[in-house]
């Protein structure tokens, strides 16, 4: 019998929880832990022992209280297929929708606002698989979820869903903080910039951008202004127009397509902004380049 099919509890009350497993492994098991895609949004906690895994082709050595966060399409396992001695616990959430090309929607059970779920999805997409070192809090949360499920006390379904939300929020916050620890703002900003470029067509808000850097939106706006000379939204528009300039002169795409690709909601809005920034309308600019 494969270890991988050992759900401890029946999860029929929680369709969105695919697995909740605590695994104590007293002996080295050969051929039980191959690298594979396990599906679902998975959070793995190392509880005891030392594990050497390949996570998306990268070698990691994991120690107790390390937490691994994986998207449904990520693969991991032992490079030698071996499950080492120790114990671990993992939780696999089945989101209603989450694919590399699709935004994250957890499902009706979650109380996290839809926009924040999307942001969470984008963060996971760009930064997962990630290993959060020495993050005991998450391991404790998993334990609490397990206890709730086991004891099935009054309103435990509600409580479990709340704990799931707390778990995800904790991970996202830790993620932006771990990213920024011992780093100066320019580095954090560079990372945000990369994220913005990767999804220029998303209607970014200042709150979303601030969350990526792990700051509140007031402090974030202030920092961005003093560092870059632009307000956060103006900086974003700057990147959008720079990309549009490239597309105008290097492609034959229509103005509307370029506008939508670079995050403007209409070609009118695009034209006004473009003219305000560059002194030319997009059409004039395109002609100028091909004279």
């Amino acid at each position: 019998m494969s270890l991988l099919n050992w759900p401890i509890f029946s999860m029929t009350e929680f369709r969105h929880i695919k697995e909740l497993i605590r695994l104590k492994n007293p002996t080295v098991r050969l051929d039980e832990w191959p690298v594979r895609v396990r599906g679902g949004l998975q959070i793995v906690c190392i509880l005891e022992g030392k594990f050497e895994w390949l996570i998306e082709h990268q070698r990691h050595v994991l120690y107790p209280n390390d937490v691994v966060v994986l998207c449904p399409w990520h693969g991991y396992g032992s490079p030698t297929n071996t499950l080492e001695i120790g114990s671990l616990a993992w939780l696999t959430i089945e989101p209603a929708s989450f694919e590399p090309s699709k935004e994250l929607f957890l499902g009706e059970w979650s109380a996290i606002a839809e926009a924040e779920q999307k942001l969470m999805g984008r963060l996971f997409m760009t930064q997962a698989p990630m290993v959060l070192n020495n993050f005991k809090w998450v391991c404790d949360l998993l334990q609490r979820i397990e206890t709730e499920v086991k004891q099935a006390e009054f309103a435990y379904q509600t409580r479990v869903n709340q704990l799931l939300d707390e778990l995800l929020v904790t991970i996202v916050r830790q993620l932006s903080q771990q990213q920024n620890q011992r780093r100066d703002f320019p580095q954090a900003f560079a990372q945000l910039e990369q994220l913005l470029r990767n999804s220029l067509d998303h209607p970014w808000t200042v709150e979303e951008m601030a969350a990526v850097v792990g700051l509140g939106s007031t402090a974030f706006t202030e920092k961005v202004k003093s560092f870059s000379g632009f307000s956060p939204l103006n900086y974003l528009i700057n990147i959008r127009i720079a990309e549009a300039m490239k597309q105008l002169r290097q492609t034959a795409k229509s103005l509307t397509d370029i506008a939508l690709d670079t995050g403007f909601y209409s070609s009118q809005h695009f034209s006004t902004t473009f003219k305000k920034l560059t002194g030319y309308t997009p059409g004039q600019f395109r002609k100028r380049g091909t004279q």
Binding site: Q181, F230, M245, K246, R249, Q250, G279
Partner: protein, 503 residues
């Protein structure tokens, strides 16, 4: 009252400043842009984003209240050296700009190094053969891109030329920026055939050469409107940021030197003659016809101290580098000169002058059981300055240097300034113009407008506001450290190579 607007297109940001007729700063704006590293040795920037940032900063300064009182009469441009941007016949960039920090041409540079060809090119062009040099970058394009692509390149220009082209429709390059390309003959002031042959291009694939006070540029009418200028406002092409920084520090004749420590660093002198170093360790760039700015650049300036701060600075303080830097410097001030006999080689990023060894690496040496964190902080500061001294020591074989003028974020921090003074044994001055690259640009414009008779007179108006005296006891002690430092930098070369092979 009239004002001068300077546009300094740097590596991380553009800074647009307004100066009055007496070269006093009256206002400024800035905007940043990123550097991309699509591969480990690559450093690129998006020319359109830089252009937009220039427009944004200019517009925001020129549409400000300030320009109601001060009418802008001239705009003058400074910029980082060594960038390469291939454009097609329509002036459209064929890819991102490759900037000075890009090392993709390492193999090309190594292959040319130590040859007679290399010596001849260096003697004629004044730019050390190194991957930073456009000479090497264009050669790289020639050998690493399909012939069909290379043929599409109408011209290889710099970021500064692109910005000016966007604003005016004219493709011209000032002799100062040109003199840092490795393609320009600093004696005849023409493109150098030998270098062009090596790179694999013809003179018509480069912009037309003009002097730094060239002012025949005409701003497109859309931008005259956007910036709310009058068509009488002049556009002056300007020089490179390095040359402007030297002028803006008040150094245009022999006798003094400038030391800049920002993220990287450089020590520069000015003179009527080039420095002919047989080992090709110094650059000789052109400020204007008749004035050479010579010196050596180091990769390992403030960026090394910032690395230390990020790794070993107090934790728990979020995202506030400046605060942590100051805390650490307070700790370091309590340690006597010499960091208790510990010495630091700062070569975290390999090194340009004076070693020109990309494989050089960092080291703390002489560590004993009594050393504490504060000794490491002090040793890190001192190591960065020992490296500057090793450039200065060689420069002094060619030029006598009386006074040092310092600028850049790190050089002007009190501890750095005092250690500089002690290590060199010279008086160190901090000028009233903090941003000497912009000040230099303003001085050029004011000279062009007739406010000063020449650049020498303009440079004399720069005043020092602070000075540091060398402590003779510390100087003597530091002399023993710099001796060991220079010896170790040479001696460890073989081991640096061996370690790099393992990295």
């Amino acid at each position: 009252m009239d004002c001068i607007v300077t546009i300094d297109i740097g590596t991380t940001k553009v800074k647009v400043s307004a100066f009055d007729q007496a070269a006093n700063l009256i206002g400024w704006r800035q905007g940043t842009y990123p550097t991309f590293h699509p591969q480990p040795n690559y450093s690129e920037q998006d020319p359109e984003q830089i252009f937009l940032t220039v427009l944004y900063a200019l517009k925001s300064l020129l549409n400000d209240e300030l320009t109601k009182k001060h009418k802008p009469v001239a705009l003058v441009f400074g910029a980082s050296m060594h960038s390469v941007l291939p454009i097609d016949k329509q002036g459209v960039p064929l890819r991102n700009a490759v900037i000075w920090a890009d090392n993709r041409g390492r193999d090309e540079a190594n292959a040319l190094k130590n040859s007679d060809e290399c010596r001849l090119i260096y003697e004629q062009t004044g730019t050390p053969v190194h991957p930073m040099s456009p000479l090497i970058k264009i050669r790289w394009f020639r050998t690493h891109t399909p012939a069909t692509w290379f043929e599409k390149v109408y011209k290889f220009i710099s970021i500064k030329e692109y910005i000016i082209y966007q604003l005016t429709g004219q493709l011209v390059v000032d002799q100062s920026i040109a003199s840092s390309t490795g393609l320009f003959n600093i004696h005849t002031h023409q493109w150098e055939e030998r270098a062009l042959n090596y790179a694999g291009i013809q003179p018509h694939q480069l912009s037309e050469l003009v002097p730094i006070d060239y002012s025949e540029l005409k701003l497109k009418k859309e931008y005259v409107r956007l910036f709310r200028l009058t068509s009488a406002a002049k556009l002056i092409i300007g020089a490179s940021d390095g040359c402007f920084a030297t002028l803006g520090a008040g150094v245009v004749t022999e006798g003094d030197a400038t030391i800049t420590i920002g993220s990287s660093g450089a020590m520069r002198v000015a003179g009527k003659q080039v420095i002919k170093d047989p080992k090709q360790r110094f650059f000789n760039y052109l400020l204007n016809e008749g004035t050479y700015i010579s010196g050596g650049p180091t990769n390992n300036g403030g960026v090394v101290f910032e690395w230390f701060v990020q790794q070993f600075g107090a934790s728990g303080i979020h995202l506030d580098l400046e605060y942590t830097v100051n805390q650490l410097l307070i700790e370091a001030e309590r340690v006597p000169a010499g960091a208790g006999g510990m010495l630091f080689l700062p070569y975290l990023l390999g090194e340009r002058a004076p070693l020109w060894n990309a494989n050089a690496r960092g080291a703390y040496i002489g560590v004993n059981i009594t050393h504490e964190r504060r000794h490491f902080i002090r040793a890190t500061v001192e190591g960065i300055i020992y490296e500057m001294h090793s450039i200065g020591k060689l420069l002094q074989q060619y030029r006598s240097i009386q006074n040092l003028y310092i600028n850049g974020t790190y050089a002007t921090l009190p501890l750095f300034a005092q250690v500089l003074s002690d290590v060199f044994g010279k008086k160190v001055y901090v000028n009233d113009k903090h941003d000497s690259a912009s000040a230099g640009a303003a001085l050029l414009a004011l000279t062009h407008l007739g406010v000063y008779p020449d650049l020498e007179a303009a440079a004399k108006t720069i005043r020092s506001v602070e000075s540091y005296q060398p402590n003779p006891v510390n100087h003597e002690r530091y002399a023993r450290f710099t001796e060991i430092f220079d010896r170790l930098s040479q001696k460890l070369a073989e081991d640096f190579d061996a370690l790099v092979a393992l990295q």
